[in-house]
């Protein structure tokens, strides 16, 4: 069974985003970029399925600029077997990415498709669900545990107020939540090995997918800032302020 994993190159988790003054977007020039943390978890889960003998091949796919090669090399160093870059300089929105991934899914016929539940740049949380719908597949989003039982996938998922477990016929789409696993650190020998693993490059045009954005971003601005309040000396002063000033007690 093949596993396809989608990965995205995003502004590093530890870098504070800077909004451009002209409202045109984020200032990403020279900023550190990394693999979206949820996608790292997805890759880790795929590699574990392979290590457990459940999967035979892990294929990492990324859609984006040439630089996304770095993200795919990281995926290969983590244990993916080969990579596919769908290269474009165009702005890609979740619907377009889902359409691109569907072409790859149709071609590769994987048993499981893993994605991060959301990317930490646009915080959209859509691509996995859209891919599942377009490919006519069942989905388990926000996964906290994945196992293969016979020809079905058993997934525990995090929902508001608790957890639920789904049983899915394969192929199925799974999106990873934070606590699905802890991704491994990439070792130097594995980074060297990753350089020799195959990476195919294609384009949206070659795949026959129109990626014209449907959403126009008119403006990106800083959120209203909250001004810092006061420090109170003790509990009595705090409770007094909450009662008399803020009137929330």
């Amino acid at each position: 069974m093949k596993v396809v994993v989608a990965v995205k190159r995003v502004l590093d988790y530890n870098v504070k985003p800077r909004v451009r003054n002209d409202g045109s977007g984020l200032d990403l020039a020279n900023a550190k970029m990394s693999m979206n943390p949820f996608d790292e978890i997805a890759i880790e889960e795929a590699v574990r399925l392979k290590e457990a003998g459940m999967a035979t091949e892990v294929i990492a796919v990324s859609c984006g600029t040439t630089q996304s090669q770095e993200t795919l090399r990281t995926a290969l160093a983590m244990g993916a077997d080969r990579a596919i870059l769908i290269e474009t300089d165009a702005e890609l929105q979740p619907l377009s990415v889902a359409k691109l991934l569907k072409v790859i899914v149709d071609r590769e016929a994987p048993g499981v498709i893993l994605l991060g539940k959301q990317a930490i740049d646009d915080d959209a949380n859509q691509t996995g669900q859209m891919l599942a719908a377009l490919a006519g597949l069942p989905q388990a989003t926000f996964a906290s545990k994945v196992s293969v039982e016979g020809d079905r996938l058993i997934v525990a998922r995090e929902v508001d107020g608790g957890e639920e477990t789904l049983s899915l016929p394969m192929p199925a789409v799974v999106t990873s939540d934070l606590r699905l696993n802890e991704p491994r650190y990439v070792s130097l020998p594995n980074i060297m090995k990753a350089k020799k693993k195959p990476m195919e490059t294609t384009t949206p045009e070659m795949l026959g997918v129109d990626v014209t954005p449907r959403l126009q971003t008119l403006r990106v601005e800083e959120p209203a800032t909250r001004k810092a309040g006061i420090k109170v000396p003790d509990v009595a002063a705090l409770l007094g302020a909450l009662r008399d000033e803020a009137k929330v007690l």
């Binding site: 639920e164 959120p223 909250r226 302020a241 909450l242």
Partner: protein, 315 residues
């Protein structure tokens, strides 16, 4: 054209977030708001929806296979009617986020997630980068599929107990998706506290609590005293002090209560993203330089293990 709101419910009662979504719908166009209740033996939910201010028609799709709100089946049901609407709205909850992109993709429409403001019928504001930026986006699709951040829209005042003369109930067919997941089981936390997303007061703990035992013995009494929901930082959840669904932040719950008490939480940007719209923020931390103080209305620097019991005694 009318607007479709997809109700969130447990087949017995309507979830409060649906009221916030209807409020958002009424900002777009209040003239024709329809609410779809898809469930099993969910008539009481539909009756409840009929009584809501601003609702003109309630559609009920009632069938056993809709009991568990499996996205594949609900999507198929929504698609039978979606083209009649200009907008389809859901809550930006775990259920709404699970379902909305499926509907959008099948309609070949982009989805706009987590909207916090309606600019006009095509244009919406939504936070990106964990709330470090706010994007104004315009959709060029004929149907807009939106998820609504519940805390950003105040629920419309409830109407009287009897449905208004104009609101009507219509039953629609429940569609089946032939390739779908099945629910095996569901464990929901007990409801002896207000729900995190809805609570007027939230008491949240961070790594400073040190253990799940302290979470229970130190923090819970304060939450009990304040009638508050319990939240946690990602660090506290990762350390096993609190359950996963208690996480407040970019990838957890977004809350905006009247009072948010952050105890032993340093205030990573991902946490601030989940609570900085609270009305009043109190921070208790031993580190005077902790970033949480930059958003707190009232900060108290000191040992939480002394401060919190004092608060419990004094409230």
């Amino acid at each position: 054209m009318a607007i479709l709101v997809i109700a969130e419910h447990d087949n017995r009662a309507l979830s409060a977030v649906t009221l916030n979504v209807i409020a958002a719908a009424s900002r777009i166009d209040a003239t024709h708001i329809h609410v779809l209740v898809a469930g099993s033996s969910a008539r009481s939910v539909a009756d409840e929806a009929l009584k809501l201010a601003g609702v003109h028609t309630v559609l009920l799709a009632d069938a056993p296979h809709l009991e568990a709100h499996i996205a594949e089946h609900v999507e198929a049901t929504v698609l039978t009617i979606a083209k009649l609407y200009s907008h389809v709205l859901l809550a930006a909850s775990s259920q709404g986020k699970n379902l909305a992109p499926r509907i959008a993709a099948k309609l070949d429409a982009a989805q706009i997630g987590d909207i916090v403001e309606v600019v006009d019928a095509d244009t919406f504001k939504r936070p990106i980068y964990a709330g470090n930026a706010v994007a104004t986006v315009r959709s060029v699709d004929p149907i807009k599929v939106l998820t609504v951040r519940p805390t950003a829209f105040e629920a419309l005042a409830a109407q009287g107990s009897s449905p208004p003369a104009s609101a009507r109930l219509e039953e629609i067919a429940a569609a089946v998706n032939g390739n779908s997941a099945q629910l095996v089981g569901r464990t929901l936390a007990s409801r002896d506290r207000p729900e995190l997303g809805q609570a007027a007061t939230v008491v949240s703990g961070g790594r400073g609590l040190g253990s799940s035992q302290n979470f229970k013995n130190v923090l819970e009494p304060l939450a009990d005293k304040l009638g508050a929901a319990l939240g946690a930082s990602r660090a506290a959840v990762d350390a096993g002090f609190a359950p996963n669904d208690a996480q407040v932040g970019q990838t957890g719950k977004i809350v905006a209560p009247q009072l948010y008490v952050a105890v032993g939480i340093s205030g990573a940007i991902q946490h601030l993203a989940g609570m900085k719209d609270s009305k009043v923020i109190v921070a208790i931390n031993k580190d005077a330089e902790a970033p949480i103080f930059s958003v707190a209305d009232y900060g108290l620097v000191g040992d939480l293990f002394q401060i919190v019991p004092h608060m419990v005694a004094g409230v």
